[in-house]
Amino acid sequence: MITSMRSRAALLAGLLTSAAALAACGSSDEGTSSGSSSGGGKGKIGVSVPTVQGPFFTAMLYGMKDEAKKLGYTLEIRDAGGYANVDKQASQFENLGVQGVKAVLIDPADPTTLTGSLAQVKAANVPVVGAGDHFPGADVSVSSSHCDVGHAMAKGAQELLPDGGTMAALTGPAGAPWTTDRWKCFTDDIKSTNIKIVSEKASDPAVEQGVTIASDFLQRTPKLDLVYGADDTVGVGAAKAVQEAKRCGKTQVLTAVLGREAEALLEEGCVNYVVAQQTVLVGRLAVREADKLIAGTKPPSDTVSVPLVPVTKDNLATVDISKLREPDSYKP
């Protein structure tokens, strides 16, 4: 009895130790909730993001880390694990406020739910910088507004379909402000054109869902002229569906965020217009604004608007990818 209990306890201990070792080996800045990058002596800057996954956040966090290293800060990154975890982000944001960081950079999943936390953090005299999304009430926000992305995508749609045509839309995660703003400003501009939206569906920002939904839409409208993908997860999925249906160039694909897959598909002609955000630059500028705030400088306005870059196959060679995306060799 005792022997079997002891051996069971030993087995359990062994398993827990290996699990801990595995977690330690596998952990990275983003994988753990208390990631920090080695750096200098100017102190810590807290970073709160809804998720660390995906091309957008990988690029933005790279920009932040690199700039922080240059300026001599270390970063404490907190990952809420998903756009739906607004309460978790609120807690992480508040915790950063009391952990002695010099400033907090935050990409709010939903700015309206974080106003209370914002008040708390500001009451502790910690400067707050919105990064990637506009955060009303923060000292300054560095972003490309999603409405501007929507307008730019509408411009792209009109360039791709000057005489109008049929369009299907993969609008991204339902209820997320970034998708609703983007879509609203896009549709406002499209209303006056001959582009008709024949199908529309929200989904998770997942490539395989993009493939499934887009192939169903292509079934529904075999001679579809254009597919709108809210960002390059569903956008890439839509392009693959177009590829599967052998309609590259005939059914054009419009999306935002120039991830590697999107770029490769752009070169193949299966993605036709990408509204790229200068995501790495957003990360860098956010850290620079935090640095200025820590030094006591008041920002001239509460918004630093980072311009968008429309990318097609023709101008791809002239685009400065280093501002859009992390280097290929980078592993977070």
């Binding site: 339902a174 395989e208 079934q219 991830g259 977070p332």
Partner: protein
């Protein structure tokens, strides 16, 4: 279903003279779900001019293949009175491993590595459940977290693109007009059917699910049978991962996130009891067909996303309620 009646029924199938008994097993009350699938198909054919076409069925098959593979595996586990919540993360981890290994070596080695990952995950699940005696819900929930964390760590949180084009062709190849992923799922179905109906392992699985203690007393090694069920489940999930990874031509650390719940839904709709020991993989096949056709049809009709969620929930409950009503109405056999 008790261990002894499982044995008797299986013996009956082998009995040459007992054709009547076999006919009796194809019971009108088992027709609930297939009829529901048929009704769905009729409805969508009427409502949409593009539903009942070869191209659309090829599409649906392609979309359903991965879910089918995962659901067949889940069937094994649920029959043993367990559950595997980690299948989604297993798909993600297998996808990442397949991609990483494939880029450095070759397509077959990459695929083997992915499948091996599935077997490994299943082994750990099986051991944690049988040796450490952690209940399946908790054990597989923990594995969900571990596998997901590993997938994200090893991939750096971003997709691993640049896979050889020969691999991605798996998703595009057709065998006599049937997409290759559908052929793979069909083979998995036949394999699962054969194991569950015509092998001792299958009989033991039903026995363990129906009444583990009685099975143990009857001489069945419950721990081995249970562990094997989880290995089979994760292996099938890894097969699903290979198919999905080929379809999106990249290793994705968040692939298949919704598959855990979807596979359980397909299994339950298919008539497999969550308490174990009862049900058939044929039912699961119809469960997968129901869910996939419903989703495809609603997309073809451009029903709004929010309404689709509502319809899916209502349809789920309706199908199961009607199916159970038919069973209870005719009197259930134990």
């Amino acid at each position: 279903m008790s261990a002894t009646s499982a044995e008797t029924e299986a013996d009956r199938s082998g009995d040459e003279g007992d054709r009547l008994a076999r006919l009796r097993r194809i019971d009108p009350r088992d027709a609930g779900l297939p009829l529901a699938v048929l009704a769905l198909m009729v409805f969508f054919t009427v409502q949409s001019s593009v539903f009942f076409t070869v191209a659309n069925f090829q599409n649906v098959g392609l979309q359903a293949a991965a879910l089918a593979l995962v659901a067949f595996g889940q069937c094994f586990v649920v029959l043993s009175a367990g559950i595997d919540l980690s299948v989604g993360s297993t798909v993600a981890l297998s996808s990442v491993v397949t991609a990483i290994v494939m880029k450095d070596t070759s397509i077959p080695v990459g695929i083997l590595a992915g499948l091996g990952t599935g077997v490994g995950v299943g082994l750990v699940n099986g051991l944690v459940i049988t040796v450490l005696r952690v209940v399946p819900f908790v054990a597989t929930l923990a594995m969900l977290s571990v596998a997901s964390g590993l997938a994200l760590s090893w991939s750096g949180g971003t997709p691993i693109a640049g896979l050889p084009s020969g691999f991605t062709k798996i998703a595009l190849t057709r065998v006599a007009g049937v997409p290759l992923p559908v052929v793979i799922a069909a083979c998995a179905f036949l394999l699962g059917y054969a194991v569950l109906r015509h092998t001792r392992l299958g009989r033991y699985l039903y026995a363990v699910g129906g009444n583990a203690e009685a099975a143990r007393l009857a001489g069945v090694d419950v721990r081995v049978v249970t562990a094997v069920a989880y290995v089979v489940c994760s292996f099938f999930a890894a097969c699903g991962a290979v198919v999905l990874t080929a379809r999106v031509s990249s290793g994705q650390p968040t692939l298949g996130a919704s598959l855990a719940l979807e596979s359980v839904a397909a299994v339950v709709i298919g008539g497999v009891s969550l308490f174990g020991g009862r049900g058939s993989i044929v039912g699961v096949l119809f469960g997968v067909a129901f869910v996939s056709i419903l989703s495809n049809g609603l997309n073809l009709l451009n029903v709004s996303s929010y309404t689709q969620l509502l319809i899916l929930g209502v349809a789920l409950v309706a199908v199961i309620a009607i199916d159970r009503r038919i069973s209870r109405g005719r009197g259930e056999e134990t």
